[in-house]
Symmetry: C2
Subunit: 124 residues, 2 copies
């Protein structure tokens, strides 16, 4: 497998490169929500359970810097900022769907019953 540098970091293969762009706990959930709608910061914050202010801002910054989402600032008070997905981000959506389907299959394989999921939600 080839290896290469990007932003002073050494990557060993294309999988690692891809996961560094859209992996981690929060980037896919963020992209997923933007796939067919524009959302404000506060909307994303409310819609993604458990994400902290720090993580949402930092992950949005990275996704923006690498061209997966677009940030539009309105010069109003109080501030209004809208996030939307870019063509590059849209291409990621296709993969995210594949990973999601695999994850659902894996959950079944591990005996995780979706019908029990909502019950456990109450305990969290």
């Amino acid at each position: 497998m080839p290896e290469f540098l990007y932003n002073n970091k050494l990557y060993y293969n294309p999988v690692e490169f891809a996961m560094d762009r859209i992996g981690g706990t929060w980037k896919m959930p963020i992209l997923w929500r933007l796939k067919d709608q524009v959302m404000r910061y506060g909307e994303l914050k409310k819609d993604i359970p458990h994400i902290t202010h720090k993580m949402l801002t930092s992950q949005l910054r990275e996704l923006e810097e690498e061209g997966f989402v677009k940030r539009k600032v309105y010069a109003v008070v109080p501030p209004k900022v809208e996030y939307s997905i870019t063509p590059r981000g849209q291409k990621a959506i296709v993969l995210i769907e594949a990973i999601r389907n695999y994850g659902l299959h894996l959950m079944k394989d591990f005996g995780i019953d979706e019908s029990k999921v909502r019950q456990q939600k109450k305990n969290s």
Copy 2:
């Protein structure tokens, strides 16, 4: 999105669950090498650049515990241990290929030229 517990850890969606099983820096490279061959510990170690002894053993342990690879120990001196992929692991290979193809596409999109890759290898 549903959320659920597995091994006392809270997951927010199927993507996160999948990535916790086969994500991280090393699990996919390991599975990838085992996709069509049985390999000994030392062979994997030699074949995966930069992986440390500790990471290879710990990641193999986890993959084994979760049923993605099978570990076969021969009662000989010196020790001989063979790792092979399981049906569950084979299913992951399909996804890994999808992620890999996406990664290659993304590298082009970011202007990372594969022809330059081998040159940079010398500098690592």
